[in-house]
Symmetry: C2
Subunit: 453 residues, 2 copies
């Protein structure tokens, strides 16, 4: 038979079984954590009418989109989960209850130029809370807690959530009479870490047309640092000059003040006045999350408050707050940096049963009993030498093997072997199940920070 060379497209992640198990573990933690905060899972189509998906317009995105026709339909693959959410909420408005809290973990598509660590198909893991006309600040205050829980449950600890409020920035630029240039200033200031203060000052003066004094004011402002309370105190010094500014400071204070009750340690949260987030539609609190030992990776979880989710579909005012994790890229980066726990149990089964007798009925019954106890069990029935059978378990990292020979069957016992320690015990099936169950708890979290090993 003529064969065709099998291949997977570049820019598409396709994992081998062990890393796929790690990825599944991360997804499971995301689903569980998001659900704990009262978010409901959503699933929208990967294909939408191109007209609907591109309602908002937008340059870069439109170039990257996978667009095609089928019959006379003009179709496109979604490039994020926010536009489909806007469509969903606008379309099903009458059937939803607000505030509407949803999470979605799904694949999105962008036909970018392929390069290392960039993906054309990737998972986003998003949560959003959508209000009907209004949305209380407490929803913004809750977000850092969700980010904190998500990453700590995965085993990541050395990270920090950086928070700012767009009202503070907008209000501050208004004080300086720079409303018009505020977008340009924010984009420039955003580069502070990369290009340094002098270059920022130069761009502000030369390109944005700020006076020397205005540029100094901007740089003085964004260099306010210190503990959260120190920054908030410094901000209080600007109070009373601009209503938007004051509202932003009050919101930021509300977010910072509720951290302790939400279980977020002070160490994992920092007010950072340089954070603006590029997207124009954020209007309140904005969030970024950085790995302390890998700031070069950029934010691993970002988002913010917006005032109008779905203006291009509906006249209803739908304010919201949301965050997004670029899961595929995060997984790739964690692997590259050695953060994925090699001790995690990634085997397809917890135990491999090796029948040693002609009749397989006792081995099958044992498998059925172990599965009923929730233990992932595989029966090995291929005609191979004993050594090859054990090598199968070994290659897959299956932690336990159970041998079932004539003697064991006659005595109503089984021999269970811990393949990591080599320890072997002959005991009752129930006791064997208990040995396996206890031993499985030792494999740890999906992420282990290299310095913690």
């Amino acid at each position: 038979m003529e064969t065709i060379k099998p291949r997977t497209l570049s820019g598409f992640m396709e994992l081998l079984p062990a890393p796929q198990q790690q990825m599944e573990r991360m997804m499971q933690i995301l689903r569980q954590t998001y659900a704990l905060y009262g978010f409901t899972p959503l699933d929208t189509p990967a294909i939408e009418a191109a007209e609907v998906l591109l309602a908002k317009g937008g340059g870069e995105t439109e170039k990257q989109i996978y667009r095609f026709s089928k019959g006379d339909a003009d179709l496109a693959l979604r490039f994020d989960l926010t536009v489909p959410l806007a469509k969903y909420v606008a379309l099903h408005y009458g059937e939803l209850t607000f505030p509407f809290r949803r999470y979605q973990i799904g694949k999105v598509y962008r036909g970018e130029r392929a390069q290392r660590g960039r993906f054309r198909e990737f998972y986003q893991a998003d949560i959003d809370i959508i209000g009907d006309g209004q949305l209380d600040i407490l929803n913004e205050a809750e977000i850092p807690s969700i980010i904190y829980q998500t990453f700590t449950r995965m085993g990541l600890h050395r990270f920090q959530i950086r928070v700012n409020n767009r009202k503070i920035l907008n209000g501050f630029y208004a004080m300086l009479g720079l409303e018009e240039q505020s977008g340009e200033i924010m984009r420039t200031v955003d580069k502070l870490d990369k290009i340094g203060a002098d270059k920022v000052r130069a761009i502000l003066a030369d390109d944005a047309g700020l006076t020397e004094q205005q540029a100094d004011e901007v740089l003085r402002f964004i260099s306010i640092t210190g503990s959260n309370s120190q920054v908030l105190e410094a901000l209080a010094g600007y109070a009373g000059q601009n209503e938007t500014f004051d509202a932003g400071v009050a919101e930021l204070r509300a977010v910072a003040d509720s951290l302790a009750a939400f279980g977020v340690p002070e160490s994992h949260f920092r007010v950072d006045l340089t954070i603006a987030r590029g997207l124009d539609y954020y209007t309140g609190t904005v969030y970024e999350t950085v790995m302390l030992d890998h700031p070069e990776i950029g934010s691993i979880c970002s988002g913010g408050r917006y005032d109008n989710l779905a203006g291009y579909y509906t006249d209803k005012k739908l304010p919201g707050v949301g965050i997004s994790i670029g899961l595929t890229r995060l997984f790739y980066v964690l692997g590259e940096q050695g953060y994925l726990n090699p001790a995690l149990n990634t085997a397809p089964a917890d135990v491999l049963i090796l029948p040693m007798t002609e009749s397989l009925a006792p081995a099958i019954s044992l498998a059925t009993a172990l599965r009923a106890e929730g233990i992932r069990t595989q029966l090995y029935s291929e005609k191979k030498k004993f050594k090859a059978k054990l090598s199968y378990a070994d290659k897959l990292g299956i932690p336990y093997a159970v041998f079932l020979g004539e003697d064991e069957i006659a005595a109503g016992r089984v021999t269970v072997k811990d393949l990591r320690s080599g320890e072997q015990t002959t005991t009752t099936p129930a006791a064997a199940a208990e040995i396996i169950r206890v031993g499985l708890n030792e494999s740890g979290s999906v992420i282990v920070e290299p310095q913690a090993r």
Copy 2:
């Protein structure tokens, strides 16, 4: 702002939050059950090179495929999970350990003519066991147990797994000298339920060119029915005439004999000689699963043994056995027939906390504590009247509300209300968590058969 009418394409399932929770429950059961049997999760791209995806060729499928180009790449959306599996195993052959057991739950795409209950984007939930050169019959014997566990864990009980073996059919037709026509005969016999014995006989004689005696033999054969042991006994009457036939009977007997040890009741398994499965590539055991009260729906879980998974990609011989559930269609059908349990907890949260004080810190702390206990908790912070807050919980079906007023906070207590029964208790936070946890266990399985209510 000019708005564009939001819509979802026809043939694409987009669920409201409550049914989406039911769907998630089904997926969770699938993942858990497949994992219990030692299958590892896989995730392959939805987009493949068209050349790779269409390597096998094939008429109907090719017409339905979503195919498009991006730059100079000729791309297509996968139309099933089997071709991507074949690609995966051929591509990663050297890095896999055989037998390779994988499950995959993923969306596939077919641009069919839209009609009620037909979907263009739908989930398939597949398992396959792939051997390297050979694969023991025990793997085929295990499949009915997986099907049985999957559906009973969902709450479906009135179903039956119907099993046959292609070797028996091929061997039998060889006995009659009808090897050449065996494909045509099987396709005709497959219609027995729909068109009746007389029409089958007519087609066999007129179109397939069988003699009257041959047609009688075929009809006599496929009308062998009764208990599994009765059918196996009747098959024994044909023994010794054809090797393939005898091998098939031995395999079928091995599958039937291991049912009890695998925990499958006799009532849920039937040897059925009329089952052939359309696909040419099945070579051994074949499976269908029917809902006893809705045979008109057809098989809800089908598959079989094949000898060569990936002949169009590799010279390696990769025999396997697999089954597939058309999950989106199954979910649709279950909903239509009233099988989805209306009492299932589909709320986004288990408890809604209603703060009654100015300071929100005690309410937030309580939410943090309940979440740490694994209880899905939502804080309600919108400025609404008390009645509107309770109505929010009611509309979403959130089973519990917790009130936290000055008196409760001072006394270190909370008031928990069961919104279904109206029962209200003021107690410690720990006792409230226990009340909620116990109460949540009562909501039942995702499927409840109408006659069982």
